[in-house]
């Protein structure tokens, strides 16, 4: 993977306190452009909260966040999204009543400002057709393109989540447990997919599946109790004593 010198995402002393509980505690994180960065750590370490902070869903108690040098601290989710930072959700989050195609159209439209055109017909959305087909094919949902998402199986929904993130053509992608609840085959396919789309983009993801982390990440940050425990290349981190005791345990080194 090519990592240029530029810093895509940086946090400085980022802290979030929920009623006295420090969920994220003075985290300094630096993700270089083009890198695939994994965030691991025990349950409750603050990974999802960190994602929420990075995408504006939660506002930080203190500290700063910059995206390609621009300060986005305290910006709202849609503002962060429009700066090229897209996220997926740990708990599947789709528009139940729209078809896969419509959802992807919606995602594509988001960047164009067409959304405010209440005097135009929705056929306008047809212009995204080619791109929609491409994206759906990429995640293997083409045959189900016209099925409302509410009727899809779980794995299919996860795939659609990814398609939505991709549709935003983001510079930085934040994927929260992209393979959670997937069968082995789907996991491998997803790894492939993420690897493919990661080209030329910056990816930060959370996953408990070490197989996924190992295959994708070129850098890994281990969080514990809201603090950075270790950071480094995967091979280095997984050998780290502290990581083994705090997170991996003796049983499973998959």
């Amino acid at each position: 993977m090519t990592t240029s010198g530029r810093v895509a995402l940086r946090t400085q002393a980022l802290t979030k306190v929920f009623r006295g509980f420090r969920a994220v505690d003075a985290v300094d994180l630096e993700v270089r452009e083009g890198g695939v960065h994994a965030l691991v750590g025990p349950n409750g370490a603050g990974k999802t909260t960190l994602f929420n902070l990075l995408t504006g869903f939660v506002s930080p108690t203190s500290g700063t966040i910059t995206v390609f040098g621009e300060d986005v601290t305290g910006k709202r989710p849609e503002q962060v999204a429009r700066r090229g930072v897209a996220r997926s959700f740990q708990i599947t989050s789709l528009f139940e009543n729209l078809t896969s195609r419509e959802q992807v159209e919606l995602a594509l439209q988001g960047r164009t400002g067409q959304g405010f055109r209440f005097w135009r017909t929705e056929k306008l959305l047809g212009r995204h057709r080619a791109r929609v087909d491409e994206l759906l094919a990429e995640v293997g949902l083409m045959p189900l393109a016209d099925k409302p998402a509410g009727l899809l199986a779980y794995g299919q929904k996860r795939a659609l989540e990814l398609a939505l993130v991709l549709a935003l053509d983001p510079r930085v992608m934040l994927l929260d447990e992209p393979t959670a609840g997937m069968g082995i085959e789907d996991v491998d396919r997803t790894i492939e997919l993420v690897r493919r789309i990661a080209a030329g983009r910056t990816v930060v993801f959370v996953d408990h599946n070490m197989h996924v982390v190992g295959s994708l990440a070129d850098r890994v940050t281990v969080l514990q109790q809201g603090k950075v425990l270790v950071e480094g290349p995967y091979a280095e981190v997984r050998g780290d004593e502290r990581v083994i005791t705090a997170y991996l345990g003796e049983a499973d080194h998959a």
Partner: protein, 290 residues
Amino acid sequence: MNAVLQYAVQGLAAGSFYALAALGLAVIFGVLGVVNFAHGAFYMLGAVATAVLLDTLGLTLWWSLLVVPALMFVFGVVVERLLVRWLLRLDPLYNFLLTFGLTLVLVELVKQKYGVSGLPYQPPAILQGRVDLAGVVLPRYQLFVFLFSVTICVLVWLLMTRTRIGMIVRASTEKPELARALGINVGRWVTPVFGFGVALAGLAGVLAAPFRAITADMGNNFVIILFAVVVIGGLGSIVGAVAAGFLVGLVEAFGQAYAPTFAQILIFVLMALIILVRPAGLFGREEAAT
């Protein structure tokens, strides 16, 4: 200074009605997720029942304070069984609309039965007149209303937060399916809680009988103010409902004293301000995004 104290007491007395009724609203919302539009109508029924009981059975206020909430509880149970329960699984807006319809029906029925001019009521002599407290002369009845409602509010709060019943009740509301799978007979709890909330509205009505016009329409405006109260306090927050109830009473009293033309608008302005700076209300929980 004296006047200011008087206004304060008057505001707290007015707030007592809001606090008690809003408490009922909050309990029902907290447990059933129902915003009960008929709360004003239940308040009205409480007052009407008080007057009718005095007229027919000679029940004094003291008895009414016990009997009417009990009757309203039963009535609430019937309403829940017959109507509200069928919509609990659905969007809360449906129950909002249902209780809106119910309000129209109840108000109209009372009009047909008891007319529109109102019902007479004679309060007990001991609550008449005034007491002198350190130079401030206060109507006895207002003091009584205030103390009584504060006591009830504290008791309810303890019940909901400190007892197993409160816990079960909260769980049954939030995820009824799961609660059943954990061995809790959910159906058994929802109904009495609704009845309980209705009884609180009825209790506010009893307190209103000696103090306010007992007419079929007495709850119409009341319920709107109640909504403002719960928005200010944070819907679903018991403490919030009570605190905001008293706050709104005070705002109303001082508004009427110093800016009468704007007294009614003032409450809504307060609400707008709260929404601006604290959308979840004074005591409301922030809605977390996952």
